[in-house]
Symmetry: C2
């Protein structure tokens, strides 16, 4: 059996939901369907989730927000009418949202989570209702009923292990299950959401729970591309990726698939297929545990900006046991996470997402490093970009680094940092933001043209 998840654009309108229906209906093994809230119909459109957030903010601020409430309901009404459904389902949705908005607001985080999650929840009800109208035995399944239990962390909940056991029962239901993405419940029964875009996570957890043969993730592109199409003209499509490759690419800017969503599938060994709702016959991109070996060392090139570095030097640093650990402790004290710590003999550089927006905090950190670690020099640099070349093939091919660094040198890109660990699935280059596009283009030319 397959678990199929349909994203926001796949549910944005009646026409799109008809496509979803046809896709599901064309393959009897597509048994469990996860849906997002209706997304954008055109680029300037507003997603239902964003309408709901405004709605919740209005209610929290003013105790009401009729205009915002109406905007949400009218999106569902329009879809229901387009699908030729009776008014009944719109009544169900509008009543549900109304009660939610006028309900308990004593805990604003809980309130916000519940209102946001209603986007997926009501959409699942609507889609189930359409499937039924088409004569398909389908049923809406609430995450509460299914036992999708999450940790009590609003907006960044994590799945609890007992969920998988609970979800296994979904295998045996005779109907096609329509399941809302993005949220679940704490063991105490409170609704909590994943991080934004978390419907991918729901689908992955369900696939792991029911031990699906495949987790299909339907979105609005034919496949994952080897580079960002905004930077590289018509980049190659990637037909197959390993979990690790996908993970590394999505870390560095590939946003096709929520990176947390890989974990449940990865741990359960379930392959993922990213497909296009608008072109379902295209094979899409498969994400698997182990992909066939190729001669091509690099499968994709990703880049991301907004990094900063803290360079710390101290003569004979490498003789001091605990220097690096104490440096990281100082950053942890400020709640800062870090990405990488390339080091020379007497220097270490901490690369992080630029969390140093506040000059005062930056000065405090620099002061602590200088004073507590007796550092000779501490230099903060903003405006860095990370570029990652990814491929399992690198493991077996001598000279990938040489090709990459030569391509960067030819493009006159100065490499601020290289991080190549022993895994050899990726090599990361730190460059100045101004060089980012040039660098990606040069690397793409080298490895794909």
């Amino acid at each position: 059996m397959k678990v199929a998840k349909f994203g926001g654009t796949s549910c944005a309108s009646a026409d799109q939901i008809r496509k979803v229906f046809n896709i599901v209906n064309s393959d009897p093994t597509r048994r469990i369907i996860v849906v997002s809230a209706p997304g954008k119909r055109f680029s300037e459109d507003t997603k239902v989730t964003d309408l709901l957030i405004r709605c919740a903010e209005q209610y929290l601020a003013n105790g009401e927000g009729t205009k915002e409430y109406e905007a949400v309901v009218s999106r569902y009404r329009e879809i229901a009418e387009g699908l030729e459904l009776s008014g009944e389902i719109v009544d169900v949705i509008s009543t549900d949202l109304w009660e939610l908005l006028n309900g308990d607001k004593s805990n604003p985080n809980r309130f916000m989570d519940a209102v946001k999650a209603s986007g997926e929840d009501n959409n699942a009800k609507l889609v189930a209702s359409f499937f039924q109208s088409q004569g398909v035995a389908a049923r809406y399944m609430s995450p509460k009923e299914a036992g999708l239990l999450l940790s009590d962390e609003s907006g960044k909940a994590q799945v609890l292990p007992e969920s998988y056991e609970n979800l296994k029962a979904l295998r045996d239901l005779p109907e096609v299950i329509i399941f809302p993405g993005f949220f679940g419940y704490t063991p105490e029964g409170a609704l909590v959401t994943f991080s934004r875009g978390g419907s991918d996570i729901t689908g992955s957890i369900l696939a792991a729970g029911v031990q699906a043969d495949l987790y299909e993730n339907f979105t609005d592109v034919d496949s994952v591309f080897a580079a960002n199409p905004n930077i590289v003209y018509q980049p190659q499509e990637i037909s197959i990726l390993s979990y690790r490759e996908m993970r590394e690419l999505s870390y560095a800017g590939f946003s096709v698939f929520h990176d947390e969503a890989l974990i449940p599938a990865f741990r359960a060994g379930i392959p993922v297929n990213i497909k296009n709702t608008n072109n379902p016959s295209a094979p899409g991109t498969k994400i698997v545990f182990e992909r066939p070996k190729t001669d091509q060392p690099v499968v994709g090139i990703a880049s991301d900006s907004g990094f900063a570095s803290i360079y710390v030097s101290k003569f004979l640093m490498n003789r001091e046991i605990g220097f690096g650990r104490r440096l990281l402790q100082i950053l942890e004290d400020f709640g800062f996470s870090y990405e990488h710590t390339p080091s020379g003999i007497d220097d270490i550089t901490v690369i992080m997402h630029d969390q140093l927006k506040d000059k005062e905090v930056e000065n405090k950190i620099v002061k602590r490093i200088k004073e507590e670690l007796c550092a000779d020099d501490v230099v903060v640099q903003h405006g860095l970009s990370m570029i990652m070349i990814v491929g399992e093939g690198m493991r077996h091919s001598v000279g990938t680094t040489a090709r990459a660094t030569k391509a960067l040198a030819k493009a006159e890109v100065n490499i601020e940092m290289i991080n190549q660990g022993s895994s050899e699935v990726s090599i990361m280059f730190g460059v100045k933001k101004v060089d980012e596009i040039k660098a990606v283009q040069a690397l793409y030319d080298e490895f794909f043209n």
Copy 2:
């Protein structure tokens, strides 16, 4: 004024000490002379320090060791005779050593430190005596009298800051000062030594204390070479190096100059000149704060073996604040220092001098990492070598990495790891030990031929 330090081979025989005398005498600004214990006269010879260590071990084990005692005294006697000195100085030395060996052994570390240090101490007395015999106003200066105060760490003492103020007074003495290297005293008056080869450190501290214009370090090679002459045929001589370059090179296997010895000179901004006692007219290698810019990006290539790596992977590692810090904490709990921590997204590799000789300890560490950090995978790899290309010129030259990685690829050396920090004075490559020589040769060819 200059501080000149003469190493073991420069003091190994009467002939060598005559060279020392001529060098000092030829330049009236050479005012403070630091001497090592007599070293090897030929490659199979034994250093006086090693004779002394055997001696101390005999006395500790058996309460006596006449043969070993005689071996030491006869070395001094031979030198004194060669220098046509009266028997008086040999009596002074033999009595001093006899009293030392038959003195307090209640603290074996203190006893060992004192016996070892007597090698330098008695040699300084002997050299002063020779200078006087040649009509030069010279005097032996004891580190105690001079106020060279060290931390109480046998065999790895660190200079205490008040030493510099104390040593300043040596400037004003009218005589040429002959100062024994390698040891000093705790504020409580106990003799303690630096780490092995620490006479370089004494010289550097004296140079900083008297604010010398130059610290001359006399050894037995004309200069520092751009690569290890045992690996590369007739490597280029290096005429000038920055402190940082020297530091990075000596870290990775360049043993011409004790790396700790750079600190006092570096902090006081005193240039260092490494020269050859056997060819004093050669300009040697200068080590300075800032060297003139050159077009040559790389000044030297060093390599060292005996490294190990611990590779740790965990899905979504990079989202966990504190993962790296806790990993380092585990190693610290075992008293292990580490060198570098290159990292991917979900993996981190700890590179260390191979301290994992004990399989049982290795297993314990791996177990703790797996259990406490819930790591997916932990892999220990032994037999790694680090190769370092060093040069201030890299800072200004795009493409050094490209040249290096291309050269390694051509030589079919697989790069296990690259560590290039933001300092850009060095790039480090981790390779398998079997590839070390091939790699150094390939890099030397690329940057020097």
